[in-house]
Symmetry: C2
Amino acid sequence: MPNAKVTFLPHDVSIEVPPGTTIIQAALDAGVHINASCGGEGVCGKCRVRIEAGEPVGGVSERLGADDLRKGYRLACRTEAAGDLLVRVPVESVVDAGILNRPASRRRTARIRDFNLGELKEKGLFLAPVEKKCLQLPAPTAQDNLPDLSRLIGQLRREHDEHRLEADLAVIRKIPGILRESGFQVTTTLVRPVRADGRTRIINVQPGDATGRSYAIAMDIGTTTVYGQVIDLVSGAVLAEHAEFNGQISYGEDVITRIVYAERPGGLERIQETLVETINTILARIIRASGVDPQDVATITLAGNTTMTQLLLKVEPRYIRRAPYVPASSLYPPLKACELGMALEEHVTALVYPVVSSYVGGDIVAGVMGSGIYRSEELTLFLDVGTNAEIVIGNRDWLACAACSAGPAFEGGGLQFGMRAAPGAIEDFSLNPATLEPMIATIGRERPKGICGSGLINMVACMFEMGVIDNRGKFDPGLETERLRRTDGVLEFVLAWENETQIERDITLSEIDIENLIRAKGAIYSGCMTLLAEVGMEIQQIERIVLAGGFGSFVDLDKAMTIGLLPEIDPAKVTYLGNGSLLGARMSSLTNRIRRDVTEVIRKMTNFELSETPSYMDNYIAALFLPHTDLNLFPKLQARLAANRRLRGRSENSGAPQ
Amino acid sequence: MPNAKVTFLPHDVSIEVPPGTTIIQAALDAGVHINASCGGEGVCGKCRVRIEAGEPVGGVSERLGADDLRKGYRLACRTEAAGDLLVRVPVESVVDAGILNRPASRRRTARIRDFNLGELKEKGLFLAPVEKKCLQLPAPTAQDNLPDLSRLIGQLRREHDEHRLEADLAVIRKIPGILRESGFQVTTTLVRPVRADGRTRIINVQPGDATGRSYAIAMDIGTTTVYGQVIDLVSGAVLAEHAEFNGQISYGEDVITRIVYAERPGGLERIQETLVETINTILARIIRASGVDPQDVATITLAGNTTMTQLLLKVEPRYIRRAPYVPASSLYPPLKACELGMALEEHVTALVYPVVSSYVGGDIVAGVMGSGIYRSEELTLFLDVGTNAEIVIGNRDWLACAACSAGPAFEGGGLQFGMRAAPGAIEDFSLNPATLEPMIATIGRERPKGICGSGLINMVACMFEMGVIDNRGKFDPGLETERLRRTDGVLEFVLAWENETQIERDITLSEIDIENLIRAKGAIYSGCMTLLAEVGMEIQQIERIVLAGGFGSFVDLDKAMTIGLLPEIDPAKVTYLGNGSLLGARMSSLTNRIRRDVTEVIRKMTNFELSETPSYMDNYIAALFLPHTDLNLFPKLQARLAANRRLRGRSENSGAPQ
């Protein structure tokens, strides 16, 4: 279906949206304000708009009289654009023509970056990791009674020009039976060496012709969540995927508590088994869902942070959490998945992503591989933001990385009304600059329950641009709105009144909440500054940004730059990887080129311990402002703020009604 | 102590023997006949000799009167030569001066071939398989917090110029703890690649300086007996060795019954565990005896026949015993010893000797490696004789091999009075050509209990040369001796009378026993003929013989050539390896050169299934004679037989008294 074009009047701003988008969402994306408090549930009735052309879907409400409906009024939060619409925003939302001239700040999220096998092949990045060859062997006779494996290898040489082969004991154990039950027609699974000087391994033998059925598993081992995918190695398609909470959560939420648990007698074994149970739950689910025969699975590639990696491999993690924070190893050899306890066939090889340091783990390395930053000429900032933020800056020539503790603000933690990005979370926000009435949109179009990370960024950016808060994140105490109030000595802004929420309390944003966000974004921004300074560069030189992690997909890039979370670049140059760790694991499953490159990348990645880098604290303190002490780092924002000041000046002079 | 020279009169034959050798043994070795029936126990009293010079030790007996003793008479079987002796053999033993001129057939056994590390090095065959390097690592700091393994590998590179290293997961698991408990001084065990394009594996890390303590285990997995050695990789010395019966004997004596057992449900697992129990018993014993720290053991190299190899590795053996006799594999990858159930440290690699065919196994390949035949220019016959005989013929350019069933005759089986080479077994034998009185010597100088393999060969050879039996192995029915008699229609020769034995029955050699021996030696000789014919050569071209197996060391080479078991060559060109399988395993433990060469050797070894080679049956039938239908193949014997005939003629003409 073609996109629907939604045009807002009197602003005369248009936006193309996918059919089914609500008018309120279209307005948010177009930078058009419509008062709205209930998150899209249709109960507040504030978001009345009039449809002047086109066929709206829904939006009828008891909040609208028959007369209103006849005139074309609808509730913006409940009305979907199936086709093009012309929407007039009524005066109670649009109070000041001057405001209309505000440069529209359209909501722009990062382009999602994915890949397919064809793309890998086009870019010359494809080196088959697994190939299957079907053979019809001559049956042995008294004159020709070579050992079974020699017969097989000989035929692979003659028929398929295969050389430098070796076979695992497990394969040798299977060969005699399978050859004879299949009339000597078998399919061998060949795993190619990563290095040119390596040998091809025969890892499996199956009766009959099983070519064309070749699969791999990719997994991201997160501290909180484990994701798994079944990948078709022939088409590159993801056949099934599933996520489960990491069962280790019962030993503690973060990596430190997990390590502490693992230090107990028997703890490492127990916590490893718990993780493997989670993995096995996912494996069972995705293998069943994809319908693949486990015999056809060749490899499982796993990426996780350093602690998850060591816990998975049962490697003593105690020195990860103790200064000077030393992991056991960067690279791990290929392993038998079954030896780690995974419910996969004996022949399946487990490939574990290498790590750089205690806090720049295999998940980040996988993200770097998935992002292609190590092949790019452009200076790129790779950012994976969760409780910890991992930063990689560099290009094809060099890579610098660091981790910093961002705190939980981006995941909606540490705020009074913070929550994860779940139904009821305020994720989009704008404010009527004159009335300070908010427009909020929630995930799942429910009445609001709280604020998620991306919502928080949007709010703070919006308030800062409007002058509701200053560059230290403090509210303008002179604002004339009942929404601003002081509770227990702290100024807070009421986003939704008690009766508009699901939690039967006012949902507010306080100066303490804003301070948390500023600390979090300050840690990340100063991390970038510090890394760049260490390599003698400046943050303005960044040409590309790659976001990874659950956080990146919903963030309004302009807003993130407004608060100084991201350096100011063209939003078109920002891409979003999604789960970079899983993406990297998938790419490694599909081509040996990635596995070959990764050892080079690891060598190139220089780790900086920010806490040990003297300039970091200075940079951090300078970053504890919106967007930064040095506004020259954000020239576009600087221009917008100046324009806003001029508009506000005019608007005040015009004496617009409240 | 210098050898003692024993001179026999009236023969005027001298022989040098180690001090402590009995006169009867010296006589046997010198080819001098002395009547003797009791095997050396001194009870028959027949072996009276007179010491005419020198100081005899022992030999005094109630069978000799005071007068006899004064005159210097002693029992030859109880008298030891401590120094030089002049011994007169009395007339009842030496009946005919003509006989004295018989060319003395001294007992010559094969030279024992062993090697030491120095020899390997001199020959350019030394490529260190294992090396230990001690390192003092700088402790990590905040500025230098590389992963532990990277730190270790970096130091190995800087300090020891080590490159292309990889580490097992088990090593990574140990490193963090060991580095910190040892103040960052550690010793790494490096296992060198066999192929030049391979990588060095770090298999172990130990605290402090453990260089100079580097050991390996070599094992021969025999169907009946398992032998193990602890080898010092620095000096090459064998520090301890021990043998145990293979516990699988309880499932059957031979490989076929073992395979049958393994075909039962759960049988393979059970029979594998039984073998590993035997191995572990030996390991415990030799490790304790040698006093080595199990952490210092790097590898275990195992050689066994094809069935033992597959049972050890839990590889389905059923097709070994079914035509067309196909083993699962020739080469096996290096394995973790502990994964096979062996009670060795986790890092110990198990290296299993490759096999050629179902009946030419790793024991033979190990023997070939130990013998050096694959490096020799001379055309060599390698023979390992047990119940099965394995034959390898060739040189540095080609190797042909085959196995044939010799039956148990060489191990003393299948004869009416056959027994293993154990105390009481007749192992040496001669016959007075005039009186047909025997001279017998038994193992342990006990009264005879039976006949072992080497004794049987000596008997048959002796009787054949004297014309007691003809070239079909049939007794001359006209012989005038009460020792020759017919029992149940079969002619037999009484070797020892009832009252001279331990078994209280006459010990005899029958025509059926002789026929068994002829079949056995015929199978082997015709195997050699057939192999040579297949490569277009003739048996006279053989320049060297290498014997392996328990059998070879005691065989009188001239006798073995007389009966046509071995082709006729200079006995000085025959060497004896002892346990060739164990020797090859030891050599592989000491140098990678042998491990590299073995894969080449395996490729060169062409296997022939004798049962499928049409000429084999013809050759076999031609070999069912003493020594062969074609006496021209044995020119020296031919000359001796002619001389004997002349002597016999003279002796008959001289009318010598009975």
